[in-house]
Symmetry: C2
Subunit: 149 residues, 2 copies
DNA sequence: TATTGTTATACTCTATAACTATA
DNA sequence: TATAGTTATAGAGTATAACAATA
């Protein structure tokens, strides 16, 4: 259990993360905004999946996911296939063009991160990543202690 | 120097912080959106200051700051006083009403944080806060190694 | 009836550019 | 000329509600 002032300081730093996210967003290709990049990288990491699963991984409403997915589908970066198990559902799959975009995103991310975090150790980057993961888990509304059912 | 995969994972977790920030925003008073809350809490912490200084602390453009400040000034939560040292500038000062809003913000933040981070130790909260602070510093465009002048 | 996904609408936050007033 | 601040405009992201199709 932490003190109030500590919570305030954490809240302030979380707000300030916005500046970092905006700088990451500024180096994205012009036709691939952040929402699209999220769709592509999650499909690249987890493989073919349904809309609802993707919305969960993105931590946004499915209506938002639908828009981001439409954007990348219009550019031919993913396919939307019928789900043999449920005709309401659609399976999202990367195309070769989509994989090429991901490769470019990776190049740009690596370059920027290496420039900005050049003096961070592997361990420090890992610590921050782990703590952010735990933070998200603690705030997850579907967490068992808050949604017991 | 960290590996590429580590950078990717950090970028993903930074994106996911958005969900946490949105949950914090959802419990704000209806006439006090996040931008207004940022203005009030920074004035509360650092005291009277000019627009340009506030923009720097918020890490956003001064045009954005101007809008947020106008919002809180319209509600009587701050005063905009003439700066005796520079007639172009305005000094921003909290009113008693503004301090009351801050008190309410603190109550709500504490309640939510205590609920979500109840199983975090002081040390863990402090570690995350410190790492986020360092992250912001590393990405700060005005950092001496990137803006040497 | 409940769920998957789409679309329309509205709100917040942000940056860029044009502008006013002052340094 | 340069800087402090304001305003107009445009773009990205998000949530809610209404809807169609299917379970």
């Amino acid at each position: 259990m932490a003190e109030h002032a500590q919570y305030e300081e954490l809240a302030r730093q979380l707000s300030a993360v916005g500046a970092v996210k905006r700088e990451l967003a500024r180096m994205l290709p012009s036709d691939c905004p952040g929402g699209s990049a999220g769709v592509l990288t999650l499909l690249g990491r987890h493989g073919e999946m349904r809309m609802s699963r993707l919305a969960e991984l993105l931590s946004v409403d499915m209506s938002v996911t639908s828009r981001h997915v439409a954007h990348v589908a219009e550019r031919g970066w993913i396919e939307r296939l019928p789900d043999p198990d449920d005709k309401r559902s659609r399976l999202l799959r990367l195309t070769p063009e989509g994989r090429a975009v991901i490769a470019e995103l990776y190049r740009r991310t690596s370059r920027l991160m290496a420039d900005r975090l050049g003096d961070w150790s592997d361990d420090e980057v890992g610590q921050l990543t782990a703590l952010l993961g735990r933070l998200r888990e603690s705030f997850d509304a579907t967490h068992p202690t808050r949604a017991p059912a």
